[in-house]
Structures are given as C-alpha cells and as structure tokens.
Symmetry: none
Subunit: 221 residues, 4 copies
C-alpha cells in the first residue's frame, strides 16, 4: 500500500467483496474498513459517503471495461461483426467476475443516489459505443437508416441488461450466456440489417407505425 492510489484501490476492492457478500444496505462501512485494513475514518478521505464507493466501483470498473471493449472492437471490422462482438463481450464479462457482476447488476440499482442523482458518465459512454456501431452500419448502408441509434442503443443495452440481471439473480444452474449472446446477435442484426432487396412488407410495417420516412429519429439522442 505504497501510495494514495493503492489505498483507494484496496478500499474499492474490499467494498466489492463486502457488497457482494452482504448486499449494499447490509454492508457496514466499518466492515469495508476492516476488510481493507484501514480505519473507518480513512474511508472518508477517499470517498464522500458510502454510496460514493458504490458509484466509484461502477465508474472505475466501467472505465476498465470500456477500454478493453474498445480494444476488442478494434480487432473486428464491419458494423455487424462489431455489434456481435459487443454483445458477446457484455455477456462474457458477467461470468468473468461474479462478485463484480452481482454488485453492478443488483446492488448498484438499490442505491438511491445512483438511480436518481448520479449522472452516469461511463454508462452513457458505454451506450454510445452501441450507437456508434449502429451509425457506422447505417453510414455503410448495412443497417437501415430509419432506425434511430439513440433508441437502438437502449433497446440493445436493455436486452443485454435484462439477460444479465436474470443470469445474476438465478440460483442454481444458470443460463448459458454463450447461447444468449448468439441469439441476441442473430435477433438484433436481422432487425437492424438493410435488406438488399427491401421487401414490401418492411415498408408496410414501417409506415404502419408512424407513417414517416426514414429520418424518424424523434429528436432522441
């Protein structure tokens, strides 16, 4: 524990373990302190309150996830492949680190501050990666231009998140996330994809819902 960063880090790591073990609300700050090997008061030199730790876990871990995610995406070319890569990466993270997944999926959502006050910079960044991929696909003519990337990013993230949540909350034999990833990729890629020879049915459908032309972004971002 040579420098400031290390102590902060050890508190965060301790918190992940404690939160995963006891849940956020039942975790005592003093327990995190003990687990981290520091005094109670020391924690307040690095974090403003208990929920700050939770949010810091999210920010810090998400930052790492995003960096690695971008690296993965670099290795793949084409919007389709990249989206599939994103989906698989997201779900793969779950099984990589059970404790962290538990904290990010469940405990984080139990925090008032996170849900209501916090502006999730990293989450926005994460979602925007999806939007970027969608836009890239649209630019290259692979994905349909009439689909609003701001809505697509939430649809795709929502699907991933729901499946992740289900996986984390499942006791006993968990669903195979490989299969889930394959299915979601299949579903979303087909949904997004530009049909070489657009069928009449598609046009009908689109018009049936809002009667508007491809630029139906609805102002959402």
């Amino acid at each position: 524990m040579a420098n400031r960063g290390d102590k902060r880090e050890s508190i965060l790591d301790a918190a992940v373990r404690v939160f995963a073990r006891s849940g956020f609300h039942h975790s005592r700050v003093s327990e995190i302190a003990r687990e981290a090997g520091v005094a109670d008061g020391t924690i307040y030199l690095y974090f403003r309150h208990k929920e700050d730790i939770l949010i810091a876990i999210f920010e810090e871990k998400m930052a790492g996830v995003i960096v690695k995610l971008r690296e993965e995406l670099e290795l793949v070319s084409g919007a389709e492949a990249r989206l599939a890569c994103f989906i698989e990466y997201h779900l793969t993270q779950m099984s990589r680190n059970r404790e962290l997944a538990e904290v990010l999926q469940v405990e984080l959502r139990l925090s008032n501050k996170f849900m209501k006050e916090y502006v999730p910079i990293r989450l926005t960044e994460y979602l925007d990666i999806i939007a970027e991929i969608v836009q890239e696909g649209q630019k290259l003519g692979q994905f349909r231009p009439e689909l609003n990337p701001a809505i697509m990013k939430r649809a795709i993230f929502g699907a991933l998140d729901e499946l992740s949540m289900h996986w984390v909350l499942t006791r006993g034999r968990r669903p195979d996330l490989k299969v889930s990833a394959a299915q979601l990729s299949d579903l979303f890629l087909r949904g997004l994809r530009q049909t070489e020879a657009p069928c009449i049915a598609v046009e009908d459908l689109t018009s049936r819902h809002d009667g508007s032309v491809p630029t139906l972004t609805g102002g959402q971002t």
Copy 2:
C-alpha cells in the same frame, strides 16, 4: 370506505402517491396512513411490512395491466401485429399514469426484498405473454424457429424496460414513446421474422456464433 377491500385499496392508492412524491425510502408509514385516512397500525392489518406495500402495488397493478393487455391482444390477430400491440401497450402505460410508472420503474427496484426475495409471479406472467406471442409466430411459420422464446421474451422486455426507465428518469422534455414503440416494433419484428427466401448471410451468421442448427434453445425456458 365500506368494506375491507376499500380500505386496502385506499392504502395502496395513498402509497402510490406518497412513494412517487417522496421516494420509497423517504416515505414514512405514518404519512401513508394519514394520506389514506387510517391509523398507522391499520396498515399492518393489511400489509406485513412497508415493502409489502410496494410489492402489493406491483402485483395489484400488474394484474390489472395484464388483464387489459390480454383484452387488447384479443382484438389483434397475427403474431406480428400482437407483438407490435404489446410493445405499444407497454410504453403507452407509462404516460397514462406518471406516478405509478415512477413507482414501478424506480422505487420498486430500490427495494431489497423485491429484487432479492420476491418471486415476481406477475412479472413472469407478463414475460410469458411475450413468449407466447413468439411461439405463436413460430408455429405459424412467421417467426424463425431457431430463436429461443425464453431469450426473446427477456430481450424484448429488457428493451421496453430500459426505454421506460429512461423516459421516467428524464427531466424536462421526454422522448416520444410513440416513436419508441414504432422503432422497437420495427426492430424486433424484422429480427424475428422468417424471411421467405433465407439469405445465405443469415445462415452464416447463425453458424458463426455457435455452429449449431436452428434448435439452439440452450435449455433456457
């Protein structure tokens, strides 16, 4: 307030107002009691804990939603139209009752008991309606049989839920849910739909992920 049901109902209604106004954690049981016009103790004749009220709100309101949803679905024929109907119905509910939406989307998730101990019967039922529609489409040859309904239901619900959450949490000008519904319908229907003449690309995609044949349900239900 003639009978038992009425008193219970008035407590639930009061709770929705109070929870939406102050948030679950900051709501005092005594405030709910005052708002409902009963004594504090009376609440405990109908509910075991404060969180019980929250869960009852969910169960009760969902039960109503499900009944009306099924009625709506009766009016529409064909898996495609029914899925579109479902999606629109889900998002439409949000704007119908802001207070209730706030409670169900945000406050409910802040409850430990709900997230961890509660077995969400109504939610399961709700999700299964999606699965039924998907299966119906598969049976009729409209939707691709290789897609696992148990995964699809979560993907679709997750997307709806994420967009709902975003809508509820947005301060200021909210996204147009009509547009969101249209986009989601478009996305998912295309994703699910059986292409008359399956393109080679699709087969490639499927095989790329798991190399298996259409029945990749992965044992998930």
Copy 3:
C-alpha cells in the same frame, strides 16, 4: 361455559398456560383469548388490563391455597407442628402445579403493577398465618417472646420464597423440596424455640446486637 364465572375462569386458566409457556411480557392478550376460546374484547369485560389477569391469578389461586392451608393446619396441633406443616405445605405446592408455580414465582414479579401499585391482600393474609402461628407459640411459651412475629413472618416467608424461586428457575434436576422443608423446619423451630434453661451465650448474643430486653419488636407489624 354456562355462566359468567365459568368464562372468567377459563380466561384465567388459559392465562396461566400462556404465561407459563411464553412469559408474561411475551404473551399476547389475543393469544390468551384464543386459548380461552373468546374474543379479544371479551377479556376486557372481566379484567381491566393484562396485568389485572396476572394479579387475579395470584389472588384467586392464593385464596384457594389459603383455604386448603388452613384446613391442613386445623389437623395439626401445637405451634411447632403447625409451622412445620406450613413450611412443608408451601414447598409442596410448588411441585403440585409447575405452570402455576412458574407464573406466581417468576412472571408475577416481573409485573410493575404487582410490585409497585398492588396491595397484596392475599399475600398479607398468607404472611399473617405465619405470624399467627408464631404468636400462638409465644403465648403458649413454646417460642421466645422477644422475637417479633412481624419480622419472623417475613424471615420465614423469605426463606421459603427464595428456595421456591431457586427450584422454579433450576433447569435439569431440581432440589428435593422434601429435604428443603425438613431443613427449614429444623432451622426455624430451633431458632424460635424457647430453651428451658436459656444458656448464657444467648443472652450475650442478644445484648451484643442492641442491648435491649426481650420486647424488641421495633414497632414492626
């Protein structure tokens, strides 16, 4: 349950069982009501409050005890034999009815009202029986006149009560109350008894403590 007396009686009996089982503080009035087969409110037609039941148990049961005790004492003649009879009778009651003994020895003392507000008519009566025996012995020249019956009655009752309490609170193999009775009789009779030829030592002792003559009643009654 033909008449008023019966219902009152059944409530008292139920209360003894419930108090012995759960302790006074943990016993719910509603539980006593259920056990007695009456409605909660009915109890308040016969008793003013919960502690009233406890005190009524004491009064009622003591009344019976006193009646039978007096009958027993009638059969014996002589102050010495009567005191021995009293002692044995008191301790014998314990093992007769475990539940009642538990309630009278332990639960009753846990009641604020009993300890502080209640004027224990029956207990006074009970104690006075001891005093009467002592006075009888003094009148007949069997017991020493310098001993104050008002103090003796408390000394003897206190000894009996402490041994009873110990017996009730003992888990496992309980002390043999027959032996205790024999020892107490031996102790107190010797202590009270007029020695034909008073030894010098006794006079020394008495004078050592207060230097007064035999009539040291100290005004206590």
Copy 4:
C-alpha cells in the same frame, strides 16, 4: 471524564438515578444519556442493551459490596459473629444508598433478562459467603452438621431479601433495619447453633421430618 472507565462509570451512575426515579421500564435511554452527559449512541459503546445497564449496575455494585463485606468479615472472628456481621451488613447497605437499593431490589427483578437469562455470578458469590460461614461454623463444631449449607444460604438470604424488599417498598415510616438485623441474627444463630447438651426434643424434631441422620444434605449445593 478523562478516560474510558470514567465514561462508563458516569453512565452507570446516571442510570441508577434515572431508574430509581422513573423505574426501569419508564426510563428512556436518551434520558440516561442526557443525565450522563453523553450521546445516546455512546451508551451502546459500553452496553449492549438497556437491560445490560441494569445488570451491569448489579454486577458492578455487588462486586464492591462483596469486597467491602469480606473486609468487614475479616475483622470479626468466629462463625457466629461473622454471620451476625453479614446480616447486619446486608441490611445496613439498604439505608446507605436508597436509590441503589431501590434499583437492586425492585427494578432489577422486573427485568426479564435478569430473572431468566442472566447467570448471577456475583449473587452466587454472595450466597456462597453465607455458605462458607455456615461450613466454618460446622467445622468448628459451633453449628449443627446436619444442616445443609446450600439450603441455609438460601434461607438466610431469602429472609434478608424479603425484609429488604419490604423496607424498600414501604412508603412512610420504614421499619428499623437495626432491629431487623438483631432479630434475624438471633433467629438464625439459635437455629444453627450446636447445643452443648442436645435436648431430646431437637433430635425428635429432626427425625420427625425425615428420619435421617445428620448428613441430610439432599445433594443440594
């Protein structure tokens, strides 16, 4: 209030005053805190529950009483004189500190935990001092060997306790404890004492109760 011990002590002293004034059940923890000049929470750094304070008062004060009692007993020689000393000491304590006596005699007994869960180490120690004196007297041939010290200690303590309780609960002119002490000493010493020339009557009495020889200890300790 320089150190830890002082703070604990001031809480105990405050508690004695508050308990004596309002009774244990009606005393608020916050009132004790105010009286002691500490925060409510501070009390829980030194005691686990409210009842813990009560029990600590007993343990702590009894420890002091026992120490001083042993000192007093050192000054006196002979089992007889020592028993008389014990009796006088016990009753003298009452009038020394009215508040403490009130708490130890009345409030303490109103505590469920004290009566049922607590193992009274100090009380046992206190009782055993009586037993030791009795045994000493028996060894020296002053007290009758057939009397079981384990029963005697409870008889003597019970008598003292009953007289103490009566004294504490008496409103108005209280009995003179000096007189009570003298009477009890007289009673018990005569009861215990070995008669130089045992009268026939005594043997009769002993045999009347159990027909056994002097070793009737009944296994009690």
